[in-house]
Every structure is written in structure tokens, then in C-alpha cells.
Symmetry: none
Subunit: 123 residues, 4 copies
């Protein structure tokens, strides 16, 4: 679990943790069933409050990315295929598409970028 936290970012720390865990799962760096660090361990490693880590884990559980296992603590959830993207994901994506268009990217350039970012999780 290599987390890169930017304490000067406008994105809350718990959300940075949430985002990086999602990306790690998507990239296959974290695999279903794998244990995550304990709240205490991760908090100490990053120099942040345990409450902050707890909040990130809670959010991830709520979104279905993590599950709590009685024996082994917090583990990566099994993939939920066919779940379909959440409303937040689609709305966020719509906004990014608009921003890319206004930044001057053609539809081809945009889709190429999307493919590249999607496939970061492939190999």
C-alpha cells in the first residue's frame, strides 16, 4: 500500500485514500480477498489521524470495494460485474468529457486518452 497523499490538495485526505484504493484495485495491485493494512498501521505510516483512515475504509465498504471479514479484517471485495456504473461516476465522466472538449481535444484524442487510462488496469 503505497499511498501518495497531498496534504495541500483541495481533495480531502480520506477521499484521496479512497481514490487510490479504487485505482489500486482497478490496476490489479490489490486483488480480491487481499487484506488491507489495519487502520492504525495505515494511519501511522501516513502520519495521519486514524479517524481519517477509518472514514476512507467506511466509504469504500459502502461503495462495495471493500468488505469486512470476521477473521482477517478489511479485505478487497470480489468483483461485482454487471453492477453498472454509479450515477456519480457517469455524471463525473460527463463533466470530464465537457472539459476535454473545451480544452481542445478532438473526439479521437479524447477516446485515445480514455483507452490509455482504462488500460492502465489491464496488464
Amino acid at each position: 500500500m503505497l499511498l501518495k497523499l497531498d496534504f495541500a490538495s483541495e481533495v480531502p485526505i480520506y477521499m484521496q485514500i479512497r481514490n487510490q484504493v479504487v485505482l489500486a484495485v482497478a490496476r490489479g495491485e490489490l486483488v480480491p480477498g487481499e487484506r488491507l493494512p489495519t487502520i492504525r498501521a495505515l494511519a501511522e505510516e501516513c502520519g495521519i489521524n486514524m479517524m481519517t483512515v477509518n472514514r476512507a475504509y467506511q466509504q469504500l465498504r459502502q461503495e462495495g470495494y471493500l468488505v469486512t471479514d470476521r477473521r482477517s479484517g478489511t479485505v478487497v471485495a470480489a468483483p461485482r460485474r454487471h453492477a453498472g456504473p454509479s450515477k456519480e461516476t457517469v455524471e463525473g465522466l460527463r463533466l470530464r468529457m465537457g472539459e476535454l472538449r473545451l480544452a481542445g481535444l478532438s473526439v479521437e484524442e479524447t477516446l485515445e486518452l480514455c483507452r490509455k487510462l482504462y488500460e492502465e488496469g489491464t496488464e
Copy 2:
């Protein structure tokens, strides 16, 4: 300027305004040079405070989507080609790509969705 604000959302109102203006420009509903409502008018129309609208406009100005002409108020900025997407846009997109993959969308489905959302601004 039809804005739909969700006062219960955790997204700040000024950011909701910002996002909807970006999308309106991307869709061509707002064209370069077109005047936006005065901060007072928009505030009254939406039942919110002047300062909140002001903040949204400030953000949009800073991001280059709007310019304030000292003679005629706030207008849509000329499109800035070759600007390239901001770091925030790319990072946000990367996150969405990860979420879509984990939601079970194939790369083809994902790119199809991206194309559809991109082309909302095309017609």
C-alpha cells in the same frame, strides 16, 4: 440559464454552478461572447446569495471559461485550443476509468459511453 441546484448535495453550490456552466459551454448552449446573467440576477433566480454566484464566476474565470469585460459584465470566453487538459481533468478521468472497469464495463462499453457523453456537445 437553467440551473438545477441540489441544496442537499455535498457538492458545494458554487461548484454545481461551475460544473453546469462548463457543461452548457461544452454543449454549445452558451457560446463564446455570450453574456451570462449578472451575479445578482442569477442569485435571485436561484434563491441563493450573490456571493455564492460570485464565487462560481470567479472560479470559472480563473479556469478560463469566462471573462469579465469591464464594460459589459461577464461573458463566455473564446475557446482556447492547444490549452490541453488540466491535471485535475486527467486525474479525475483516470479515476472514472478505474470505477467503470470495476463496475464491469469492458473497454468497448466504456469508450462507447465516453463517446456518447463527448458528443452531447456536438450536434
Copy 3:
């Protein structure tokens, strides 16, 4: 009188006019005794309000850069050597020196830049 006005600037238009007249005099593009355009002419040429031009001229008269001549209207004032810089000038310069230092310029680089800008008015 070639004025380049930026209507999107945060600097008020009357102040932009004032600044450009000062620089034109410093560069020798406007010489003592030379007539300036009438308020009406300059306002029309720039597509701005006469009040705005009037305010700029008033400011310049007050600072001693222009004088009103009974016969020929508004003309460039005779140079006031030994007047010494105004408090505003020195305070503004102090601020710029601080900004340059913090932007990473050495004292030599800073003085070289100052010399270059000063001598724009020389030849």
C-alpha cells in the same frame, strides 16, 4: 496615441490609460508640449466612455504629467527633474523587488531587468 486596452483586466480602464500615457512620456513617444487627443476623440477611438478618458486625464494632471493649456487643450507637462519619486512609486517598487526575489531572481538579474526596463525610455 496607440492605446492597448484590456477590458478583461483587473486594472481599471482609466488606470490603464494613465499608465500607458506615463510610459509613452517616459519613452519619449510623447514630448513636453505635445497635444493629447481630445477626450471625445480618444473615447471614440477606443470604444469607451468619455467619463473614463476624463478620469484618466484628471489623474495625470493631478500627478503632474499633463497640464491644461488654454489654447491647445491638454498637453504633456514639462519634465519635473529633482521632483523625487512619489511614495506610491517607491512602495510599489519595494513590492516588485520582493516579488522578483521570491521568483528566484538574483540581485544581478534583477538589476539587469530594471536597467533594461529603465532604458526602454532612453534612446
Copy 4:
């Protein structure tokens, strides 16, 4: 943090704060990593509103002089060498050079003044 505010000045209070913080950093009175007063504390100390201080800090953040650490508040940013001076700084300096020339200062006197002001931050 000794701020001297002039409530009668035409320079907005938030800009006076901005300028004095820049000068304090340039003089080394504020060093990188050092914490600034909270917006509430500074507002109370100066007898002004929180929002006014907030605006000054926002501006300073945007210009890269401050960063807000989500854990510990607002601190002086690390110096950014190679940043180069902003357009505003150079334009402002050009104007001051013109004013000094018209006030009767020779190039030597001007550079001597610049050096003195630059080196206020040296010792």
C-alpha cells in the same frame, strides 16, 4: 505578524495583507514551512472580517506564496526557484521604472534604489 492596515487607502484590505505577507516572506521574517495565524486569529487581531483574511490567503495560495496543509493550517510555501517573475510583476516594474525616470532619477540612482530595496530581504 505585524500588519499595518490603512482603512482609508484605496488599496483593498485583502490586497494590503497580500502585499505585506509577500514582503515579510521576501525579508525572511516569514520562513518556508512557518505557520501563519489562522484566519480567525488574524481577523480578530486586525479588527477585520474573517472573509477578508480568507480572501488574502486565497490569493497568496493561488500565487504560490502559501499552501494550506489540511492538517496544520496555512503555512509559507517552499520557495519556487526557476519560476520566473509573473507578467504582472514585470509590467508593474516597467511602470515604476518609467515613473522614476520621469521623477528625474538617473539610471544609476534608480538602480541604487532598486538594489537597496532588493537587499532589504538579504541580511
